[in-house]
Amino acid sequence: MEYGRTLDRAQSIAIDLTAPPMVRSILAIIFAFTVFGIFLAIIGRDPFDAYFKMYEGTLGSKVGISEVGVRMIPFMLTGLAASIPARVGLINVGGEGQLYIGAWAATGVALYFGFGNIWIMLPAMAIAGFIGGALWAGIAILLRNLRNVNEVISTLLSNYVAILFVNVFVFGAWKNPTGFGYPYTSDFATEAILPAIAGTRLHLGLILPAVAVVATFLFLSRTRWGANMRAVGGNPDAARRRGIPVLRYLVIAMLVGGGLAGLAGMSEVAGIQHHLRPGISNSLGFMGFLASWMAGHNPVTLIGTSFLIAVIVVGGDVLQFSGGLPSAAMLILIGLVLFSILGFRKLERKAE
């Protein structure tokens, strides 16, 4: 106890505790961009020039804005895939793998079921993607409840398995015979493609996270089940004594989370790639996980954090094209933003 008090005192000295959370988060973001700017200067890039180019390539043009929107789709969906299980105290670090399996399942429908009607095909792909992601996440919750395997480890490791699983198909049975040996599936028929706004890549898949965020928000804040989820996440034993079926909540939260990550996979293949290939995601699911933590698992705040990460990622692509910086370097900035937001935010809680 005494130790805890020493810690409290040490922490409360350093910071201004009166600023509201919003302002503090913005300060945290500015701090992260400043540190990254210093890093850019050290490696010999002009930070002002780099940030200006990032702005131009993202929010400064119509194409840029639409690209940010395109990236936000998987971030919001895989973000929810972490947020919803987090409400019941589960940590889902498997959004990346669930996205891959969702993309795989949606692709299976697109390749092998010729519905001949876009109104049947796209929902069928979405359902397949959702089920695929949900079942993949289900393995983790099964291992947890039957065998006491911590879900952090099982979801982390299953990401690598999922990526290889997709490779088995795109390098094997699903490989396009007329694809010059490239590991791609055949291109989808028009009925399996999410229509895009003319002149951009921003596609109708945007509806998915929009609906999912609103539905999650209403469910969590306006229903008894949402309140129960919080109770399960807070103290499962107390929740069980109050008659809440804890196990059912854990399973459903994980399945829905995995399903939403699976939808992100469907949206990627049907909206952007129009076929399945290896490495379709390149860490989208991991970014979603970070977006969820930045947002404190709040579905509305998640819109903002997904937007921020999307700007950084698209801006990173711009910097890569204009020379010098590999796009993976943007992970440094995203990490800094998360560290700052987590680090700044806790102080506010200490003050209460």
């Binding site: 106890m1 480890i153 398995v161 290889l164 991991f286 900035l333 995203i334």
Partner: protein, 307 residues
């Protein structure tokens, strides 16, 4: 029949090499967890060690300097975690995971000019007499120097944890920060030291991977070995000796996969690539129940058991 024998002996020979890097990372994670913290940034620290170990070896021509640089880089990354979780009380799992991506970003940038280069790095040293033992001799005693250090480190850490003052303090902090504090220990300093030491070992593992095993550097080359290490600590019930078993099991899975590929097993190579991860998940499914009882008290809030 002879194919099966060939695969089996090949798996044994191939188990040690790929296991060493994971073994170091597992030791490192184990020390951190014994002090009551968990570091998902171990994967990131391994990448840092692999990348900077490689770069420094290329630039100086000295593998020892490279190994040292790898340890420093791994420890440096983990100190970010130490600061955030100890002084800012951030969530350990989210912070550690973000740290892994952060490390992936740094190494992708720093190592971009070193991809596709091959170096001598660390070479196997055959131990006279021992390496001539049939079957196991070559597997165990024709390895690089870091492998021999890794064999010794398991028992050393075990003795250190149980029979030295430092080890006792470490475990006390891992069981209860408040009690350790009341007993006159400084929990913050001990945890920071444990995290830095664990990060250094993960970095050492990464350096062994790029300098001793592959002799190359490529972006994201650890492909989850750091996360495997976190799983192996649980499988190993927080004991360095059992951790050795786990790490060689992982190495064996890689050895088996390579052997099956060599003999041309009629399976997709990607299915074989899944083997190491599946085997770790499988052994965890079998032993996690028992392992949960051995968990340090300080971890129970983070790795909550089944409800």
């Amino acid at each position: 029949m002879s194919t099966i024998l060939l695969v089996m002996s090949g798996t044994l020979t191939g188990a040690v090499g790929p296991g060493i890097s994971v073994l170091y990372a597992t030791y490192g994670e184990l020390i951190i967890e014994r002090a009551g913290r968990i570091n998902l940034g171990t994967e990131g620290s391994m990448l840092m060690g692999a990348c900077f170990g490689f770069i420094i070896t290329v630039e100086t021509g000295s593998a020892s300097a490279g190994v040292l640089a790898g340890m420093v880089a791994g420890a440096g990354l983990s100190l970010v975690l130490a600061y955030l979780v100890i002084y800012r009380d951030t969530n350990q799992l989210a912070t550690g995971f973000a740290l892994t991506l952060f490390g992936a970003g740094i190494t992708a940038y720093a190592g971009r000019d070193y991809v596709d280069r091959t170096i001598g790095g660390l070479n196997p040293i055959a131990i006279p007499f021992l390496s001539k033992i049939p079957e196991v001799g070559q597997a165990l005693f024709q390895q690089d120097i870091l492998a021999y250090i890794a064999y010794a480190l398991g028992p050393v850490l075990w003795v250190g944890l149980h029979y030295t003052r430092i080890g006792l303090s470490l475990r006390a902090v891992g069981e209860s920060i408040d009690v350790a504090f009341a007993a006159g220990r400084n929990p913050q300093v001990i945890q920071i030291a444990a995290i830095a030491f664990g990060g250094a070992l993960a970095g050492l593992g990464g350096a062994q991977l790029s300098l001793g095993l592959t002799h190359t550097w490529s972006e994201g080359m650890t492909v989850g070995r750091g996360f495997v290490a976190v799983g192996l600590v649980i499988f190993g019930m927080w004991s360095p000796l059992r951790a050795m078993v786990g790490a060689f099991l992982f190495g064996g899975a890689i050895g088996l996969q390579l052997q099956l590929q060599t003999v041309g097993a009629p399976v997709s190579p990607f299915i074989l690539d899944m083997l190491p991860y599946l085997i770790i998940l499988f052994v965890m499914a079998i032993w996690s129940q028992a392992a949960a009882r051995a968990m340090p008290e300080g971890l129970k809030g983070v790795l909550r058991a089944t409800s």
